[in-house]
Each structure stands twice: as C-alpha cells, then as structure tokens.
C-alpha cells in the first residue's frame, strides 16, 4: 500500500555549499566533496566541496587580476565596501549563527561569534583611510629632499583560516588584508566550513569586486602545499596551519620570498577587542615604500 501522505510531504531544498571564486560559486573542478555532520547528532548537514589545487590556481589567477583595481581604489571607498560587508553580515546573522551552532557551539556562543565578526568588519572598515598616516612617515634626511615612507599592499595574500572559530577567525585575518588593498585567497576551516562558505554569499552581495576575495573549502593538507609554492602568491597568513606543517610550508614559501604571518591565537584569543584586532594586523600585509623627492619642485 502506498503511503500518499509521505509522497505529498514537502522535501527540504538544501543548499549546495560551493566554492567562491572570482565572484562566482563554482563546484570544485575535481568533482569531489566531503561530508559535514552536525556536532551533536552526527547527522549529515551538507556535502562541502573538496577543493583541488586547480581550484586554488583559478582563485589565485582571479585574485591577481583583481589586484590592480582593488588596490587602486581610494581608501575611503575600500572602507565603504568593508562596512557594506558588515551590513550584509548583519542581515544574514541568523543563518550564520545557525550554521555555527550546528557545527558545535552553543546558541549564545554562536550569536556572540557572529556579532564579533560583524564588529570586526566595522573596525577594519574604519581603519581604511587612517592606517597610512599611522605607518607612513615623513623622514628627516641630510639633504635638500623630502623623504616619505608610504605603505603599499603586498599583493595576493593567501589566508589559511583557523579550525575554530571558523567564521570569526577567518574574518579576523581576511579583513585587515583586504582593507590594505590586498586581494585574498582563503582556505576555510576544514572541519567547520559552512559559515565561511556562506560568507561567500555575503561577499557576492556587498559591492566587493569579483576576485578580490576567494574562498576554497577542502582538505588543508591537499591545498596548503600548493598555496605555499605558488609563485604568484605574495604572502600567506598561516594562522590555520598546523604547527607540524609549518616548516614544510616555510620552505616552499621561500622560493619567491613570501611574507609569512601567523596570529598567535593560543596566546591572544579571538575575543579580546583590544588585542585580537589591531591596525598592526593591517601593517603585516603592507610593504613600505620610501620616496626621495627634491625640495623646491
């Protein structure tokens, strides 16, 4: 006997969690995925894309292409766009919190993580036209010259997000790189990728140009070595890289003298608003350029 009431029951329309590359949401070119389960019941939540080195390559290509226009924007405009990201995060706060909660945080922890994430965008948005005064300088020199030092963005920055807090940790490292005019290729938390992938939907609807920030989910051990050796990546934030993998990464990154940055989450934590966010985090992805200019011209 057919149970018609079962046939009539509505099926959930579940979201496919995909990558975010060049302003689009492609599946991984490899066609692979890995299952993400709820922390409590072990119930299947989603199949996340298991990104490949070629996805990473495409993302770096997109980031490189987006770099001149993004770094060429006025500081004011970059600040506006980061603030816009905060606005859109706010309107998606419930969804982000739900995903964080499903992956193993309490409701209040999840809500707190989302509001901290939003605040972090606002914090770095505000720094956009201020950090150059802080880190730039007019230098006294013994000659008829003006001598300026100005910060310039490093280029394409690879960010390896920490496992937890997946969203706040990733945003805390992406935002300072972005506000300084860098473009970013980020590898999300391997065990808790969902809120970070939803962050891609936030980017897609918040005026940030295609390619400026790219998100790859997958197995870190498969992705990080390719990021480390990629000659077109200028800096890597290794915060989410396991201590044991660090030496290999540093060796591979030496070939084109990448700038390596690591946030000491164990010592500082992600919550302290006075220590876990700082203009110095922006300076870490800046190169100092010094210009000599003859006086009287």
């Amino acid at each position: 006997m057919v149970n018609y009431s079962l046939l009539m029951a509505r099926l959930n329309v579940r979201k496919t969690y995909k990558l975010y590359i060049n302003g689009e949401f492609p599946r991984t070119e490899s066609g692979r995925y890995y299952p993400i389960h709820t922390a409590t019941g072990g119930e299947l939540l989603a199949n996340a894309c298991r990104g490949s080195r070629k996805d990473l390559r495409n993302a770096v290509q997109a980031a490189r292409k987006a770099f001149p226009a993004w770094s060429g924007k006025t500081a004011y405009n970059r600040g506006q766009i980061l603030y816009r990201i905060a606005e859109v995060c706010e309107s998606r706060a419930a969804e982000l919190a739900r995903e964080i909660q499903l992956l193993g945080s309490s409701a209040s922890e999840a809500a707190k993580e989302v509001s901290r994430t939003i605040d972090r965008w606002v914090y770095y948005a505000g720094w956009s036209d201020k950090y150059p005064q802080l880190f730039g300088s007019v230098n006294p020199v013994a000659g008829p010259y003006y001598n300026f030092t100005v910060p310039e963005p490093t280029g394409v920055v690879g960010v390896v997000g920490p496992e937890t807090p997946a969203l706040l940790g990733l945003v805390s490292r992406i935002a300072p790189a972005l506000v300084g005019g860098n473009t970013v290729v980020a590898i999300t938390s391997e065990s808790r990728p969902l809120p970070s992938i939803t962050l891609g939907e936030v980017f897609a609807t918040s005026d940030i140009p295609a390619g400026v920030v790219n998100l790859i989910s997958g197995i870190k051990n498969e992705l990080v070595p390719w990021l480390a050796s990629h000659m077109d990546v200028n800096a890597i934030d290794t915060t989410g890289v396991d201590e044991s993998e660090l030496a290999a990464l540093e060796k591979a990154a030496a070939e084109n003298v990448k700038r390596l940055v690591r946030f000491d989450a164990a010592a500082i934590g992600w919550d302290d608003a006075r220590r876990s966010q700082s203009p110095y985090a922006i300076a870490e992805f800046q190169e100092m350029k010094t210009v000599w200019h003859p006086m009287g011209m």
Binding site: R57, V60, R64, W226, S229, H230, M231, D232, A252, E255
Partner: protein
C-alpha cells in the same frame, strides 16, 4: 560568375585562372555549422597530461608566429621579441625557438639582422594590413619590397569588401598577383573570418585562396572583434584536406588572434591532429599566430618542471 568590372588587367592567360576559380567555387559546398561546432567542442575536451602535455606545448612553441603588430612598435621592442623568439626561456635549453617573427614590413630588415642565423623565419604582413583597403599596385609594391627586405613569408589580407560583394574573381586575381609578387617567399592568405559572416563564406574564401596560390590560409588579423575559433579552424582544415585530396598539394593552416593560453593551444593541436593526421604536425604546415600565448606556455612548462604554479612577475613583459 561573370567577369567583374573591378578585376585588374592581367597580362597572363585568363582561361586557366577562370577554370581554377570555377573549381574553387564548386568545392565551396555548404558547411554543417552545428556539426562543426559540436566536433570542435568535443575535441577541445580532450585532456593532455604530463609528458604528452609538455611535448604538445613545446610543439606549439615551435609552430608559433610570434607577433607584434602595433602602431607603437619600436626597434627596441621588436629586438627584445626577436631575442625571445630564438631563446624563449633562457633558463631551459629544452624549449625550442619559435617558427617565425611576424611584424610590419618596415621592420623586416631589422628583424632579419636581429634573428641572424637562428633559423627563425621573418614574416611580414602586407597588402594594406589589416583592412586591405588600398590600391592593387600599392599592395604589390608593398609585397615586393617586403620580400626584397628579407621577408621569408608574407601574410596578406583579402579584400573582404570585394568578397562580400561577390566579386570573387577580383579576390582570386589579387591573391594570384600577390603570390607572383612574393617570388620565393611563402604566402599566407588572411581571410579575416570574423568579417565573413558564416562557415559557408569561410569555406568559399578558403577554396578561392588555395586555388589562387596560397601556401597557408590564415583566419584573422587579430584586429577585429572575432578572431580564430576552434570550429572555424576545423572548417578551414577540412577545406585544406579536400584540396589536398583533389590536387595532392599540401596547404598550411594558421589560426591567429585570441589564442592566449596553453590549454587552448593544445586544443588547436588536437583539432589539427584529428583532422589532418601526423603529417600536418609540423611548422611547415601549421602555425599559431600569437603574442601573449608564449608566456603562458613558458609558465606551464616551468610549472611542469618545478612543480610550482608560476607568476607573470618572473617572465618578460612583451
């Protein structure tokens, strides 16, 4: 086909030429556009890996006409290009030189001396490139002077206005005239497929060019919106094959414009191989007209060699 008013006065016998044009038009049968596009798309899906990829990429370099056709070309820039043509990757002696350097006629003698005994050929565009809208006498004179200056190959453009008006005899005669003016130099005939409208026209133009004496047929100048595509190349290669079966004469093919990455270059080689077989896999019968393609291939080759993805920062700007 009636004789047109704009055909130039030719001193040679008219009858065999009339016959050749009639043959060309007879072979210009309609092209199945859907099948051509589908076949090209399916061939483009073929994936070449590791050793065969490296082999294909090196072959592509050896078939390349490294091109600079800018109003702002200087001797300095062209000299750098010649250096690169002879030794594309100074860090890797396994990388072969390109087939030819393609420039405007005024650069020919300079390029000739810059390339020296390297074996890389000098190709010059001529006949009022890229529009072809100038006087027949000037086109012939330009060709002669380019050859006299040392050009091994001449890339001419057809008069698309005349072709689209149906003045096939005029187009045919012009190609035959330029072929004569070329003397020992090889003649590549640019159809400017982006201007021709459809595959039937492309096939017609290909046939006219081959019967008129072209050594190569070439898709595009690179100066209009639509450049070389895989299906257009497939259609032209099939013309070459039909012409070969009829006459026993091997004509070369040169897609040009818009071929900017390694994957695409390999797809062209696949289409070539599957249409013409191994005999055509040589720079005598196939060329890729390109400029930015070379750096992309070099980056791919170095990636295969070192295992790391490469950056444009470490390759010369052309």
């Amino acid at each position: 086909m009636t004789e047109t008013a704009i055909a130039p006065n030719l001193s040679r016998a008219v009858a065999p030429y009339r016959r050749a044009l009639a043959d060309a038009l007879e072979l210009a049968i309609p092209v199945d556009a859907v099948a051509a596009e589908e076949r090209a798309a399916s061939l483009a899906k073929r994936s070449l890996k590791k050793d065969s990829k490296v082999w294909g990429l090196k072959l592509a370099i050896s078939m390349m006409d490294l091109t600079t056709l800018e109003g702002k070309d200087t001797r300095g820039k062209v000299y750098a290009l010649c250096q690169k043509a002879v030794r594309p990757d100074p860090s890797d002696p396994e990388v072969p030189p390109v087939a030819a350097v393609c420039v405007y006629p005024t650069m020919v003698s300079f390029v000739k001396s810059a390339l020296g005994q390297s074996g890389v050929k000098v190709a010059a565009v001529a006949t009022g490139f890229p529009s072809g809208q100038t006087f027949p006498a000037i086109k012939i004179a330009e060709t002669r002077q380019a050859v006299a200056a040392g050009a091994d190959e001449i890339d001419m453009v057809i008069d698309r206005g005349a072709f689209l008006s149906g003045h096939y005899q005029h187009v045919f005669d012009e190609i035959a005239d330029i072929k004569e003016a070329c003397g020992p130099a090889h003649l590549k005939v640019i159809l400017e497929t982006g201007d021709l409208g459809n595959y039937d026209q492309i096939r017609r133009a290909s046939m006219i060019a081959m019967f008129a004496g072209a050594d190569f047929i070439k898709t595009s100048t690179g100066k209009v919106g639509v450049n070389a595509t895989l299906p257009i190349t497939l259609v032209m290669l099939e013309c070459i094959r039909d012409f070969y079966h009829l006459t026993g004469k091997k004509i070369g093919m040169k897609p040009a414009g818009g071929i900017s990455n390694s994957k695409l270059a390999l797809a062209y080689l696949v289409v070539l191989y599957e249409t013409m077989g191994p005999e055509w896999m040589t720079s005598d019968l196939f060329r890729l007209g390109a400029s930015s393609l070379l750096n992309d291939i070099l980056m791919q080759l170095r990636k295969e060699r070192t295992g790391a993805y490469q950056s444009g920062d470490y390759f010369t700007l052309d």
